[in-house]
Amino acid sequence: MNTFWRTFKTAAWLGWEMDSNWTEPWLFALYSIVKPVAGAFILVLMYVVFAIIGGGPDQEAFDYMYIGNAFFIFVASTLFGTFQVIQSDREWYQTIRYVYISPISYYVYILGRSASKIAVSTFAVVITIAFGAMFLGVHLEMTLERIPLFVAGLILGLSVLLAIGICLGGISFLTAKHTHGLAEGIPGLFYVFCGVLFPLSILPDWGQAIGKGIPLTYWFDLTRRLLTPTPTIQTTLNAFSDGFILLLLFLSTLGFFGLSIVIFKSGEYLARKAGKIDMTTSY
């Protein structure tokens, strides 16, 4: 356990240095804010354009979309923070062989490397929500008694994300340099099917079924219920209680954690067998 903790701490420090030491702290802070705020502004303008050309204002739909998008920052950066470790160490820095043969758990090393991404994205999520509440009229209703449920949901949501990221990392042992395709595509999958920006009811039945099979759908729904209730929007999850959703998230976390170990170990084994652990696919 001591070795795991030391690996995690060192990898987290390494991840933080790699993410942030290329510039001054103020510039890094600005950089960390500009991307997510610009992402939020894309949605703001989509909403504005629709309202301008005759759709009219719909504050509840806007709140739904804005809060979903703010928390989606966690999804994009946590997933990218985990699955890109293998490809950046392998293709760019070409250090994977040295890290891999060192006496540590590579699984824990990846978790550590992603920790800095989670820390930075927490900062970005807070800024985005605060900006929305102060300047865009996003309605927030967080009360003290809701905080424990919110924190529990957040921890379980992030744990599921880490586990999914490790699953993708396991697959990326075997694939070419597809970091950007994965970075765009996998979050896109969750963007579409998890009711992040629009309610699941917009999707066809098969799409709703996929969405209900992904634990993140429940995390986003719970988060929105606690932060900015949108009662007129039919999410298709209205019948589930908060406690039931939390239980589902807990069970999903356990399930995905087990799955991540299986996929990671299988990917690692097959990559070693095929001699792909330190391949480069530069084109």
Partner: protein, 309 residues
Amino acid sequence: MSAPTVHRTDFAYRLRLNAKAVLGRAYPRVIGANREPSWVFFEAILPLLGIASYVFIYQAFGARALEGVSDPAAQAAIRANTNSLVASVVLGGTMVAFWLNVLWSMASQLYWEKEIGNLQLYMMAPMNRMALLGGMAVGGMFMTSVRAITTLVSGTIVFGIVYAVVNPVTLLAVFFVTLVALYGLGMMFASLYLLWGREAWHLSALMEEPIFFSSGFYFPVGGLYQVGGWGRAIAIAGTFIPASLGLDAMRQLTLGNTAFGGNLWIFSVEIELAILVVMAVVFLVLARYALAYLELLAKREGKLTSRHQ
């Protein structure tokens, strides 16, 4: 023993040499990249999901706007606007592929080549450096076009988009001039990134969402002009990226310039095409000078082969 090679400088020889360099650098992108069949899933199908989420947002807005509207004309207007916005998203999402390719496979490429040790080999080779960048651009355009067309066709079919193309020749002209201007910008950035070193990666990352926003990849960029002074300032800044005007012109040409009431376009197609031509020429010329200057600077400061800086 063979006779010593004469150092040739005649035009025909240099032309052939540089053409070979263009082809040689384009080859791995055209053939090598497509040799890895997983690109179909990672680079054509997965990006469609990101586009789909923006499409569903407009459809959700449309469905909410239709609630309580009984007038058939108003319903038809809402449906037409929603279709136009969905088409705007699919076109914008297709251009995203090119912008990402410019950022990550053009602008970052010389820096990347330095990191993996190829840059010094390129610098020792006898061809013009612009031929190297040109080869990267040609290969990148081809590689990305294959992916973008797959995304465009799938998006159009899946979301049932109806286009109203009246002038396909101008549409193709706008598309290709936009690509040349975009890749010219990428060639210019490629040189600058050599100077910026490790910041370059972060700069590329920083030029994703903010550019998607300021250039209107997912909404008609004219919407920015409707939200006050800050919106206009951002839109004007965004037009320095060729995709902004290119997308605006392509949307006018595929949706009709009366779409959205004709109020969300920046300029007419002719003006936008003219500006894009100027941009293409300016960026290519600037790329030439930037490359020569930064190569000299990198050699003088001894940074041409230093990695991870």
